[in-house]
Amino acid sequence: MPHDDIAGRGTQDPTAGRVATKERTETPAADPASSGLDTLAGARYSTNEADDLRSLEAGLDRLQTDDARGTNAWRTFTTSVLPPIIFVVVLIAAWQVYVWIVQPRPDIVPSPISVVTAISDAWQSDRLQTAVLTSLERGVFGFLIAVVVGTPLGLLLAEVKPLRRAIGPIISGLQVLPSVAWVPAAILWFGLTDATVYFVVLMGATPSIINGLISGVEQVPPQLRRVGTVLGAGPARLATLVVLPAALPGYVAGLKQGWAFSWRSLMAAEIIATGGTIGFGLGSMLDQSRELADLAGVLATILVILAIGILIELVFFAPLERRMLRRRGLLQGGTK
């Protein structure tokens, strides 16, 4: 179809050119600057040549763009879902085989089966459900507080240069500081209460969110701002209609990292700060198993903590990020 268009133009072209030349010699007074004749010329132009141009452009457009390839679900499954699953299965099998052959002391190397048993015991005694719900609630709530605090701070620092020069390096520094370091201070300030846990989570997650937003705003191409200005946007609408949407990839990356830091900080706080009015979370469960020298229980809890972290990433952040990047054509790997 596109080939037909180009071929069609090639054969018609000389005739069209000749006709146009003839017209020109016959009406030398057709001065395009005088408006009356201009519209006349425009009308003639739009009937004959516009259709020609339209089909020509349609052909070229078709040639120069790929048809959107649909994502192949099976391909996604075999290339990105299957490999880690196979790896984990092989790992567990090797572990079990090792236990069978070497027969190490079960209190030093428990078998996969005893770890699974520990998980199901914890489930039956309701300890697992309580711990997961408590930790998840704190993690999510703490993370949301960090978002509410970090977002306006990040925007402020991104848009006010002097402020960023003064505070930016300190925020980056805070990102390096392990948030466990805040636990003793938090205990002294807030005692063994939920406030201690939330404070540590906040200190862990906020710097990532702020930094993500700042780097997102920094990476906004200057020509987009310039176009916004040319289109007549004032500072407020430039920020909401151009800068913020353009900074979204950096912001989402910051949120993702912020969640990871929230979860880590929460576990650290729960392991160290137990007792008082602090409820029973996964960190507390981990610490309890250690006191009982129950290695199977410890490993079981670690697996649960890991699984929850991965699950939140997979069901929440990964689709969010993928959708956003795909819409902008920033996703690598051919999927449109």
Binding site: Y45, E49, G228, L241, L248, R327
Partner: protein
Amino acid sequence: MSGQAAIRIEQLGKRFGAGPLVLDDVNLSIESGEFVCLLGASGCGKSTLLNLIAGLDRPTTGAIDVPAEGAAVMFQESALMPWLTARQNVELALRLRGVARTARRAEALELLDTVNLADAAEKRPHELSGGMRQRVALARALAQDRPVLLMDEPFAALDAITRDLLHEELERVWRRTGRTIVFVTHNVREAARLGQRVVLLSSRPGRVAGEWRIAETSGRRIESPEVAALSIEITEQLRKEIRRNAA
């Protein structure tokens, strides 16, 4: 030629900070509805002049008169918002112009149809070819509904076939809408193909070094003999200007 001046530039000078003079004593009067090509070597100050006309920068000396409604600008890179579809990109311009929400969609589709892109309205910039992106950018510039359209090497990054088509497209849009167009390019043939008037800028400092008026502009193609003849003439002058810097 008749008609009143849409843009009047008088004794314009521009330098950046304490740097050398980029533009010196530029005088130019552009009529309403005129298609002017600003031609010059790279770095001679074409973009600087265009930004001054657009009001993105201030002149050091001299004065520029532009219509009160201002000018629409199109750049070499399409600079479309990557998170918006073609239609939404045009709608953004309409929104910033103050068009009511209900009227935006229809008007955006109409503008996209003007540049033969009605079918691609729901595509995002990364799904469009370079030429299509520039046409969306053109539709967006038209959406601003300003009497003056400033274009800074808008087709420089396109392949020759696409550029050729966009020349025809732009010429058609110009005839249909009656906009005043200032088209910046470093491509002599492009200037000779498109302009009613070609203004040559010299380098260091930028001054008006020559002007050509083309009486008959309809039916031109990049390969037309009259375009070739004019290109040779302009290139001669351009080379003379460049050679002067050797001494």
